[in-house]
Symmetry: D2
């Protein structure tokens, strides 16, 4: 993604002519489509699309695009958005004591693989401060003994930093329902099980007790229902009878960070569209 | 497994000296160990082992082995068994209308890959009769409108045929608790989800509703608790938003048959030992 | 695929306006696009697309579609094709002694999962005759001691049967270069390794000697260069030091048949477009 | 691995009575075997075993174990070793400019997951110095414009640090044959392809050209033959026609670091035994 691109994402009721109308609009302005994906949800008969267009091929900036496209969008009753790769998304990361997801994220940020900014990290512990600050990223430890106050502070920081999304990188604290509602579709969590199996606390212990032969991880949007929000990405890894809970935790870390990284990339690149409690992911 | 082998499986309370005692017994009789596996369950401190020994290296038949080994077994309070590859296990297969698992099983039987005999197939429908009978295997359609009577008949057939295990190859009928108890550890089912997710009816519909990104299959021993018995083998396959329930059913068939085939092979080769509601699988 | 569909596949030099022009054509005739996929090859700057359209939404039959679309196709210098789901592709299957791929294929055909016809099976041995004929499919054993004559006969049968593709289901004979050229892009082979590793004879023996930790299978179009044609689909499975060549053969069968089935489905559903010696697969 | 353990690894010509003799030795000294694995290589008829024994269950230190066991070892013509978990292996890491493998390794070291010491990092560039030194690990940049001198210096550092193994974490320099011979079985490399496919330079470019549908990574011991040494661990990940070389590099990083981490763990825990140009890996 070195060249500047606009990404147009749309969802609307399905009917004939949508692709034609949008493509005609882009073509009329000589837009060069680099990537195009479409999907119709059979149950809801809702149509989803995503187009990446080279910014230099279009005669306008995002604001102008917005103005020009509005008529067509209204005609098809579209829920739509245009994003600009030149404006990186701002991710406020929440972490606790476990370093693996945060480390992985910071590596991807540092190397430029994660096309986003990390204005700050928020935590309930000081364990990861040194590592975060070495990256030149501000680290805020909040006192979660008063949960309401701490989350209010966290939300303030998020607003001050003009955050686009909250990333819960093994944060281990349950967010207040009000926050989940306010930032719906903008809070991303990594859960250390293959949901819907083993929601809630200590999923590896639950997996050990049940004697499953694979364990997993799930990246999902946070909603008021614990571990029940729209799933963005999942993966599993094989274990066997010889693996203790401690072994599972170790294997699990590797898929947790990979699954979070993939889910986050899809979100950052506007590849995820919500469809009720499910996601359309245009990889 | 062309050469004849004895397979010795043991579980007992853990302590020092078990491997030494058993190995010494085998060595004293000049037994040639071809494969050896050990495991200690940390929670229960129970020890599990499996040894495959070349039959021609030992001076005795299984009965004599049994007699000779009993003293040592008693000393260590062993739960143990010796099986002989020259005596193939007898699998009574239960099927319904769906052909994929049964077909796969019959291919493996026909080609000699599945080291077992299939004395008969029992079904609640006639759909698969032609295919089964082409293999020269008797096909019994039972009338499950009276479930109690039908299962009584099925159990009679199983006994008449000196069955070692019942294989539910997408049989889609819930077995009476009494049968589950009587043949505990001898009834093998394939469930079309990654348990414990989506137990019970219509797992692909459940998976579709939840919006998971992987679907799975589980081979397990049947107990009185529906889809909650000890898991032998599982696997998953990636799907995405474009996949309908019908697509999932199609993908699912491929892992169902593979997972059942693997689980069945482990059972047939005495690689599965029960440890409470879990399994030790010496692959 | 119960409802009738037309599938339009196109490849042409990339430029702006292609999607718009095609979508406008479809929309003008009130065509309902069910699935749409696009790709631009960066190296060759060639554009590829595939659209599935509901047949009942269009006012014309395939011939008429062809006539109407030709002008636009010429304008963009398109290499294109329209196919009709009501006309099943005809697959002539070549097999030898190994049953697993053929069995799997016939199950998928019998159950309706494989949306194709199998007018006949051609073999150099009689081993699989009974199984094929039970399906009501003609079985032709040809004498490959004279390879040239046998392949001439095979080509005649293919032509007589108006075959669309030849499927080499572990056929184990090398096709004459002339045949490879004549039916380029229409001969599908399953090779029992993860190509380009272990091309040629006895790939499992080669894999065993090299000590790899995964083995694989590859479905590809046949070209004059042995095992070097465009790859359609591949997969791998984990093995370990305990696995003999015989074990690899057994594991391998399971991925061979799955990989062949997937590749074949992509081909039958016009999801595979050739791009030099590579494929674009719109799954 | 919190409790102290001795790990006994043995390879010797196969015959009856080996397991019995070793187990009897351990049992006689009241050793508590925590993990035990065995394998016979069919081709060479060589036997391999590994036993983990609780150190506190034995009456002796490693030196004394060595002395006591020597007689038995000689009798069976064993190639054997006893290692002590209280003495961590010392890994000298070689890196270049690419951070992902080194970062991952340092995370695992820092978190205690990798049971080893890293006395220093050697590099031909300064890019990773800051990150390494933040961990308190000495960083040596050597001038590889004179390769012979640089490798001589590297070997000196390795000896000074009493290194147990050299880890090439995407080092991108070919080691002199003499070094490969001197430290045979002690130099571990990660190659960014599924060997034997795409050995040598630019494997992702090679994979892109060939149009494979999966890419992979291989962790192996370095020998004089480039990328042809004994394979310890491999894995693959799915790609498709939409993925550029740059995408492959990105996906590849994730499997490279996972495969290296797994291979390294097996090495560090004495789970890898050499069998000609292959490995036995007791996972």
């Amino acid at each position: 993604m070195s060249e500047r691109r606009y990404t147009l994402t749309i969802s609307c009721p399905d009917r004939t002519g949508i692709i034609a109308a949008v493509s005609e609009f882009v073509a009329r302005h000589r837009g060069w489509i680099v990537e195009a994906s479409y999907h119709t949800d059979q149950e809801t008969q809702r149509f989803f699309m995503r187009q990446e267009i080279r910014a230099d091929s279009l005669p306008f900036e995002p604001d102008e695009f917005h103005a020009q496209f509005s008529g067509l969008a209204a005609e098809f009753n579209m829920d739509w958005r245009i994003s600009d790769s030149a404006r990186k998304k701002r991710l406020v990361v929440f972490a606790s004591k476990e370093a693996h997801c945060l480390d992985d994220l910071l590596y991807r940020w540092r190397s430029g693989e994660l096309h986003a900014e990390i204005p700050c990290v928020i935590s309930n512990h000081d364990d990861l401060r040194g590592f975060v600050e070495w990256h030149g990223i501000p680290f805020h430890r909040l006192d979660f003994s008063d949960k309401a106050a701490a989350f209010a502070q966290a939300a303030d920081l998020f607003e001050q930093q003009r955050g686009d999304a909250m990333v819960l990188a093994r944060f281990m604290q349950i967010l207040p329902p009000e926050l989940c509602r306010r930032y719906a579709g903008r809070i991303i969590n990594i859960h250390h099980s293959f949901l819907p199996s083993f929601a809630g606390a200590k999923p590896y212990h639950q997996a050990y007790q049940r004697g499953v032969k694979l364990i997993g991880a799930t990246c999902h949007y946070v909603t008021e229902d614990l571990d029940a929000g729209p799933i963005i990405e999942q993966d599993t890894v094989r274990i066997d009878h010889g693996d203790t809970v401690k072994d599972m935790v170790r294997y699990g870390r590797d898929i947790e960070k990979t699954v979070l990284a993939r889910g986050l990339r899809y979100h950052v690149e506007d590849r995820v569209l919500l469809c009720g409690n499910k996601t359309v992911v245009f990889r």
